[in-house]
Symmetry: C2
Subunit: 161 residues, 2 copies
């Protein structure tokens, strides 16, 4: 291999296309439950957060713009999946409560048959190696964007899961 050929761009395209293909498989799987990919990810963030989660924390965790998350949470409230509650002391602080319907949607969307089926092509050691490499890439990208890493999920190593 001629190392002078820049493989960074094709490697980035491959990363983007791999993500897109797994995303579409997951979308296909979620279809019968009427839960979108984003709703499923937001519910996962809220329910699995070790501390009480705010819209700002969700936007950081999912690397989405604050206003997109904010709009999405309003739609989820309309859909009866969550309640958005203004803090009594700190009016700007929004607390989020998952409704029974929200928990049901979450438990319907928690199965990841597609993800498991696709990941099964890798050995456990390869998964650990992929984790290590992706974590470093992501940290570097966050640094490039000037975003502070307050994110707790996924952790730097699967041992911290």
């Amino acid at each position: 291999v001629n190392k002078d050929i820049n493989i960074n761009y094709p490697l980035w395209r491959l990363l983007a296309r791999t993500r897109q293909a797994i995303y579409r498989a997951r979308q296909k799987e979620l279809l019968p439950y009427g839960v979108s990919m984003r709703t499923s990810a937001v519910l996962f963030s809220i329910i699995n957060s070790p501390e009480e989660i705010t819209p700002k924390m969700i936007s950081q965790q999912l690397t989405l713009e604050y206003h997109s998350v904010s709009e999405h949470l309003k739609r989820m409230e309309k859909g009866g999946l969550i309640h958005r509650i203004k803090d009594k002391e700190w009016k700007n602080l929004i607390r989020i409560e998952v409704t029974a319907k929200g928990y049901e949607a979450y438990s319907n969307s928690i199965f990841h048959e597609s993800t498991d089926a696709i990941m099964s092509v890798l050995t456990y050691e390869e998964k650990i190696e992929l984790w290590r490499i992706l974590y470093r890439l992501r940290s570097k990208a966050m640094e490039y964007l000037g975003i502070e890493e307050t994110d707790v999920y996924p952790p730097s190593s699967p041992e911290e899961l």
Copy 2:
């Protein structure tokens, strides 16, 4: 590490978030040129295709729905970046021609300072390893989706670049 803990889902989340962070860095970089990420990717597919490319081939390469690509190509034609030409013999066949303005937009968006900066955190050997792993994941995901792999870019190994 307890191997019973399923790392497939967090690994998938990490992949999705890494892609999202690199995507945002690239978006920030493209902003001054007025070229969207999708337009940049479509122009890259057209210009770097070894054979004459059709909307269907673009949708396969970028793992996007056919109708999304079709709509996007119409917008790109309105923006003066391409011409969509109906084949004289096969009326359903659309051939795509990049205009001078399209080539200019392409050459403006071809620099990948953000991607290079982020990828620089990996050694060459790690990049090759990441390529190998992602390629297998992507093939498996395509198989899951029942999509035939007619894609030629990125190839199965960087040696084929």
